[in-house]
């Protein structure tokens, strides 16, 4: 099991946001988390990667307990979050944003990253090229400030940045947000492509139907709890899920 979440409970001050949820992700899967607004999906992702401190429960990554670890400590272990709402480094160029994705592996703090390092631990250029081949638009925009990109392009930067080090597990919070409706398909194709490249994916989506079509398994959240969990195919066929969560009559 790549990721194991056991009995997680999260409060915001006195407000209960997640109550005793458990979920698992095995290597190679795409797992989708769906559910209405405010159900606690983002909270779950934040608690898994350490952006939030849960009241109780355990998070195990590759069998290791990562409770109390901060996101920056998990990047090196291969767990990476793309937070809700893009969050690119607005004043930095696309290229610099991608470089920051490789922050943990580039050499010395005082060294100049963008220039060819004398003894590179990694070839940043090569990593960047991989991202450009996934999102070719970014290649043309590499010198542009990320804050001036369209929202879809910013989302590509945010995803590309998280992919720089080819994480073992990628947490995606609403990856299709900001893309035009007819591009959402393409986004999911990209996610599939990333997954085939060896990255396991746990994602949150408002495009519930689409997410389940591409996912292997799914969790349906309802006000702080998991209401259903099953193979994505089964969820799509489950009448109750279809009625209450996929907007079908």
């Amino acid at each position: 099991m790549l990721l194991e979440v056991k009995n997680l409970t999260v409060y915001y001050d006195a407000v209960l946001a997640l109550e005793n949820i458990s979920l698992t992700v095995s290597g190679g899967e795409i797992v989708a988390m769906i559910g209405p607004n405010g159900a606690g999906k983002s909270t779950a992702l934040k608690a898994i990667c350490g952006l939030l401190k849960p009241q109780s429960g355990d998070v195990l990554f590759q069998g290791e307990n990562i409770n109390g670890k901060q996101p920056y400590q998990l990047v090196e272990k291969g767990l990476c979050l793309v937070p809700e709402g893009r969050r690119v480094f607005t004043s930095m160029t696309v290229l610099e944003n991608l470089e920051m994705g490789a922050y943990t592996v580039t050499s010395g703090q005082w060294s100049v990253v963008s220039r060819k390092n004398r003894q590179p631990k990694v070839d940043i250029r090569q990593l960047v090229e991989k991202i450009f081949s996934l999102f070719p638009v970014l290649n043309k925009r590499q010198k542009q400030k990320a804050g001036t990109l369209s929202s879809g392009e910013q989302q590509m930067v945010a995803i590309g940045r998280a992919l720089m080090l080819k994480p073992k597990l990628l947490l995606l919070d609403e990856p299709s947000l900001g893309f035009s409706p007819n591009y959402v398909d393409t986004v999911f194709e990209k996610i599939k492509e990333i997954n085939r490249g060896g990255t396991t994916i746990l994602l949150v989506e408002q495009n519930a139907r689409m997410a389940l079509e591409y996912a292997d398994r799914g969790y349906v959240f309802e006000i702080g709890k998991i209401a259903f969990e099953d193979k994505a195919k089964n969820l799509l066929e489950n009448d109750e899920v279809r009625k209450s969560f996929l907007g079908e009559r």
Binding site: R87, V88, G108
Partner: protein, 295 residues
């Protein structure tokens, strides 16, 4: 052009470079912590007293004293963060609490300096005042040339550091979005410490440079802090080139403003400019318009 004007211009540039250094340090810190670190003013004072101690009491040479005083100012900045702000961050304190704490630190350290050195004026300059160089009808002294040169060198270093080095880029990333920085692997606490070190070294440098030029006293930090903050605001809060621009602009406005009116109006001019900016261009010269200012 007459001599008075040229002399005022020289004074303006010297004052401007000091303001710019203070504003730069303030900005470097503001960008990562997003609150107004008022104790920055007392770090400036401390810089001057460090220089005084090293030069007058320990008889070290100027260059070494300058360097060591900057290091000591950096350490002081880190210590303020570690022992005051860090515990507050752990408790998720509000910005108001940080503001009050930073005032408290300011007053505490100012009084501590007064306790150690006394309230009287001290001076580092020894021997007779040297005749300055004549330059376009104005007089500029060696010390003033040193102030200008040192400030410009520090500004260039800071710029290269922020733009080119890995650590500088990480600091920009944290300034843009601390959460995004955290998820790419940047330890936010470490960047906060770094910004306190660099920002405080700059404030210290301003205090050291001014101590070569004028007398020093424990209360000198307050008006310097105000000028630095005004410069940072009119330059565009959070903008590094803005801090430099704001500093020189303020120095020019203050010093050229008193060309025709009495010198007693200097501070009044500074605040008038601040108020004008707050009314018509609150984001300053180079700040971003959309950013919500949090004090």
């Amino acid at each position: 052009m007459n001599n008075v004007f040229c002399q005022l211009l020289v004074n303006a540039v010297i004052a401007g470079s000091i303001y710019a250094l203070i504003a730069l340090g303030f900005t470097v810190i503001y960008r990562t912590v997003k609150f107004f670190h008022f104790a920055h003013g007392v770090v400036y004072t401390a810089g001057a007293y460090f220089a005084y101690t090293l030069i007058i009491s320990l008889h070290l040479n100027f260059a070494l004293s300058f360097f060591l005083s900057m290091v000591l100012a950096a350490i002081l900045g880190i210590a303020i963060d570690r022992f005051v702000y860090y515990p507050l961050r752990q408790q998720n304190a509000s910005n108001l609490i940080f503001l009050l704490a930073s005032f408290g630190v300011f007053i505490f350290l100012q009084n501590l300096i007064q306790l150690i050195y006394g309230a009287q004026i001290l001076t580092i300059r020894t021997g007779p005042i040297k005749e300055g160089h004549h330059f376009l009808g104005a007089v500029i002294t060696d010390v003033q040339i040193l102030i200008l040169a040192a400030s410009i060198i520090l500004m260039i270093f800071l710029w290269l550091f922020i733009q080119k080095t890995k650590l500088g880029k990480a600091m920009r990333a944290v300034a843009d979005d601390p959460v995004a920085a955290n998820v790419v692997g940047i330890n936010p606490e470490r960047m906060i410490r770094t910004s306190f070190a660099i920002g405080s070294a700059l404030a210290g440098a301003a205090g050291i440079l001014i101590s070569f030029e004028t007398n020093i006293e424990p209360t000198m930090g307050f008006s310097a802090l105000l000028k630095g903050i005004i410069a940072a605001i009119i330059g565009g809060i959070g903008s590094i080139p803005g801090a430099v621009l704001g500093g020189f602009f303020l120095g020019l406005a203050e010093n050229l403003g008193i060309w025709k009116i009495s010198a007693g109006w200097k501070d009044c001019i500074a605040f008038a400019i601040l108020i004008i900016f707050l009314f018509i261009r609150p984001w300053g010269f180079l700040g971003t318009k959309t950013e919500k200012e949090t004090i």
